[in-house]
């Protein structure tokens, strides 16, 4: 089996699994308790938080661990908006957790605006300027698109926001960027930044939100006052420590891994075929490739590839069954292509050989389907 749906989730690494076992078993103690074994757990957790902050180019006090990036994004929207009378800007290419958070605000009467995507799949400074104004209170822009892998230049874009609306809060969903591109949050110029564990070899059920020092982040979940009162609930110690170990390992492996090499194998295979289109030609993380097949259904191609031992995705797993692909359509891709899109996503565990086999499998599946449909 060749697994190429790493943007949906990755296999947890051994160290993350061991950490979970360790902190559920021998070191099960509550890190908020006062006895010695619990203090040891607390100190392991503190050390992990410090290392994690290092990975993001942040400080330990700026990290809040959550249950997933969806929680981080919801937290940002629920508690990160300071000027309740201002407008909110999100890009048209956001993950469902940001899009739905924005739509919820809209249903409450907030002026929500969508920054357009270019044909290349990114948010441009010009596009952003059409929706941000001095009354903009909150801006959320995805760092790397979960659909296409296209990178948004967050530091330039946040500068644009601040030049027009100095008081605006800037959030970025960094789930597909963390450990895959060089993320230094202070240089990105954001106030809030969301990441997830299970996209980088950690376990499901763990995420984090970076909140810039000095940014007053009120709690979304209240209770026992853990994490300096910003996110109550006994910490998922094994999950968090496993997250940090996994992220470190992933980042190390990513340094010697060239996802573009694998991605290009597909691009070469599919190029010059008029009924196949690569979506998003702007700068790419290399970890995600969105391909569309004209007048075919992506779901069927994915099933056919599965039968031949290749697992791929259909855009964001959260929207697999939504017929229209919101993000691709906002890039101006026609319905004939957007309905036939698949998402191929890599991890450092994938090899060029796997990519070659998978490219052949996907191409032959699509060709076969096209022949069948055309009779």
């Amino acid at each position: 089996m060749i697994y190429l749906d790493n943007a949906a989730t990755t296999a947890a690494c051994d160290s993350a699994i061991s950490a979970l076992g360790k902190y559920a078993g021998e070191a099960f103690f509550n890190p908020s308790a006062g006895y010695a074994p619990a203090l040891e757990v607390r100190s392991a957790l503190d050390k992990a938080a410090e290392e994690f902050a290092d990975l993001l180019g942040a400080e330990k006090s700026e990290i809040i661990f959550t249950s997933c990036a969806t929680e981080s994004n919801n937290y940002a929207f629920e508690c990160g908006i300071k000027n309740k009378k201002g407008n909110v800007v999100v890009s048209a290419g956001e993950h469902a957790s940001v899009y739905e958070s924005a739509m919820r605000l809209k249903s409450r009467g907030v002026d929500v605006r969508f920054a357009p995507l270019s044909e290349k799949g990114n948010v441009t400074e010009e596009g952003l300027k059409t929706v941000v104004d001095k009354n903009t209170a909150f801006v959320s822009l995805i760092h790397v698109s979960n659909e296409t892998g296209v990178i948004n230049d967050i530091s330039s874009l946040s500068r644009v926001v601040r030049s027009i609306a100095p008081g605006a809060v800037v959030h970025s969903d960094g789930v597909q960027a963390f450990c895959k591109t060089d993320v230094r949050v202070h240089e990105l110029g954001v106030d809030l930044y969301s990441v997830s564990a299970h996209k980088v070899g950690g376990l499901k059920g763990v995420g984090a939100l970076y909140a810039r020092r000095g940014f007053n982040m009120k709690p979304f979940i209240v209770g026992g006052g853990q994490q300096n009162g910003r996110r109550s609930g006994t910490e998922n110690v094994g999950g968090i420590i496993g997250f940090v170990l996994a992220a470190k390992e992933y980042k190390n492996r990513a340094e010697t891994f060239d996802p573009h090499k694998l991605r290009n194998i597909f691009i070469e295979k599919f190029s010059d075929i008029p009924w196949i289109k690569i979506n998003g030609t702007a700068e790419n993380s290399g970890y995600i490739l969105s391909v569309s097949f004209e007048n075919l259904r992506g779901e069927i191609i994915a099933h056919m590839a599965e039968e031949r031992g290749v697992l791929i995705g259909l855009g964001s797993a959260c929207s697999t069954h939504v017929k229209a692909n919101r993000v691709l359509e906002s890039m101006g891709i026609s319905g004939a292509f957007s309905g036939g899109s698949v998402r191929i996503s890599f991890s450092p565990s994938n090899t060029a050989d796997e990519a070659s086999v998978a490219a052949d499998v996907i191409f032959s599946a699509a060709k076969q389907l096209k022949e069948k449909i055309n009779g």
């Binding site: 259904r297 779901e299 069927i300 099933h303 056919m304 599965e306 039968e307 069954h321 939504v322 017929k323 069948k372 449909i373 009779g375």
Partner: protein
């Protein structure tokens, strides 16, 4: 004095000499439904009682029994002796706390030293003395306290009747083969025919990779919900891809759906024979879509020669079907957005008035048509719900 659940059956009382046949199936279904709950079922003429259960299980018993076809209604009752003092103790618990009421007595045991009228007067009088917020109204009371004195010096006192599923006991009308697509309609047609006493086997056409594993999972989930009413249900999944591909390749595109449905009916008839089903059931509803016009139904129906095809929803409005689907709990699963095989290779303009002649001509253009149908029947995958 303990709590019991009194059950009343529906149409069975209209039966004559074969009444025992229906009653025996109903009793068996009741016992099967309560399997796993510590309780006892007492079956006497015209009156079934569930007793000796733990109080904590009472709601579960009621919920389960409300899904048994053949039961008309049930009541949670207090069981007392035939002595007025004992009956009054029970009536105290059952009677309302305030408002108007009456007492209605049914006395099966004619040897007792009181009549129905005198007992109702006595219990009503005592209840008035006991609670001064109560008033008697014989004609239009807010509540009625029913006292049912049986032959065995036992009486049951209750106030409310809860409606049950009605219909006839599952299994009393034989076995049918129901086509289950995963949409809103077919679970409802399945439910309706189970209600008329059919034991059901379900048939699902699966077109992987054109439809997903999830689409099949959805059908199994629907079957599991239906099994609350039908009892254990076998789901036969037919690999339908090759048949559909062949039809798509060789037939006129506007006849695609007609031919697919004729193939489904052919397969269904053979499966029905193999699994000893005496009829085919589908969820067609006249005029709902192109394949459900009178002409289309005629053309698809014409391939079935040996058994009847029942279409319990034929005269229903969609809104009524949705209402039933919501009531039986299948709607939320049915609307999950997984494609079913009917949407594969969908033509832009399907024929609404097909003819048998043209359908046959199209079929004759498909090489190895007969083999494809047989291959589909031979490769059926069987699932049994609920899983044991």
């Amino acid at each position: 004095m303990d709590n019991v659940v009194i059950l009343r059956y529906s149409e069975i009382h209209l039966k004559g000499k074969n009444r025992a046949f229906f009653e025996n199936i109903l009793k068996k279904n009741i016992i099967a439904k309560l399997n796993g709950i510590d309780c006892r079922a007492e079956f006497s003429y015209g009156r079934y009682v569930i007793c000796d259960y733990k109080q904590a299980d009472e709601n579960r018993i009621v919920t389960k029994l409300r899904q048994v076809f053949g039961l008309f209604s049930l009541s949670i009752a207090k069981r007392a002796t035939a002595e007025p003092a004992s009956i009054f103790e029970a009536a105290k618990d059952v009677a309302p706390k305030s408002g108007t009421f009456r007492v209605t007595v049914n006395r099966a045991d004619k040897t007792l030293p009181y009549t129905s009228v005198s007992l109702s007067a006595e219990i009503g009088g005592r209840l008035l003395e006991y609670n001064n917020k109560l008033e008697v109204d014989l004609h239009n009371p807010d509540s009625v306290v029913y006292i049912d004195v049986r032959d065995n010096r036992t009486s049951y006192v209750y106030s409310e009747s809860v409606p049950c599923a009605g219909g006839m006991p599952v299994g009393s009308a034989g076995r049918g083969l129901t086509l289950l697509s995963g949409g809103i309609d077919s679970p409802v047609s399945t439910y309706m025919m189970a209600k008329r006493g059919l034991k059901l086997t379900a048939l699902h056409f699966w077109s992987y990779p054109y439809t997903s594993m999830e689409a099949r999972g959805k059908v199994l989930e629907l079957a599991k919900i239906l099994s609350d009413y039908t009892g254990e249900i076998k789901v036969l999944v037919v690999p339908f891809t090759k048949v559909q591909e062949a039809i798509h390749k060789y037939a006129e595109s506007n006849y695609m759906i007609t031919l697919v449905r004729r193939a489904m009916m052919r397969i269904a008839e053979r499966v029905a024979e193999r699994y000893r089903c005496g009829c085919i059931i589908n969820g067609e509803d006249l005029g709902q879509v192109a394949s459900q016009t009178l002409e289309s139904i005629n053309v698809t129906n014409s391939v079935v020669k040996s058994i009847p095809v029942f279409r319990p929803l034929i005269g229903f409005d969609k809104i009524d079907i949705i209402e039933t689907a919501q009531k039986i709990g299948t709607f939320d699963v049915s609307v999950k957005p997984y494609e079913d095989c009917c949407t594969v290779f969908l033509p832009d303009s399907p024929v609404t008035k097909p003819t048998i002649r043209r359908a046959e001509k199209n079929e004759s253009a498909i090489p190895d048509y007969e083999e494809l149908i047989s291959e589909a029947v031979d490769n059926i995958e069987v699932f049994v719900l609920p899983e044991r």
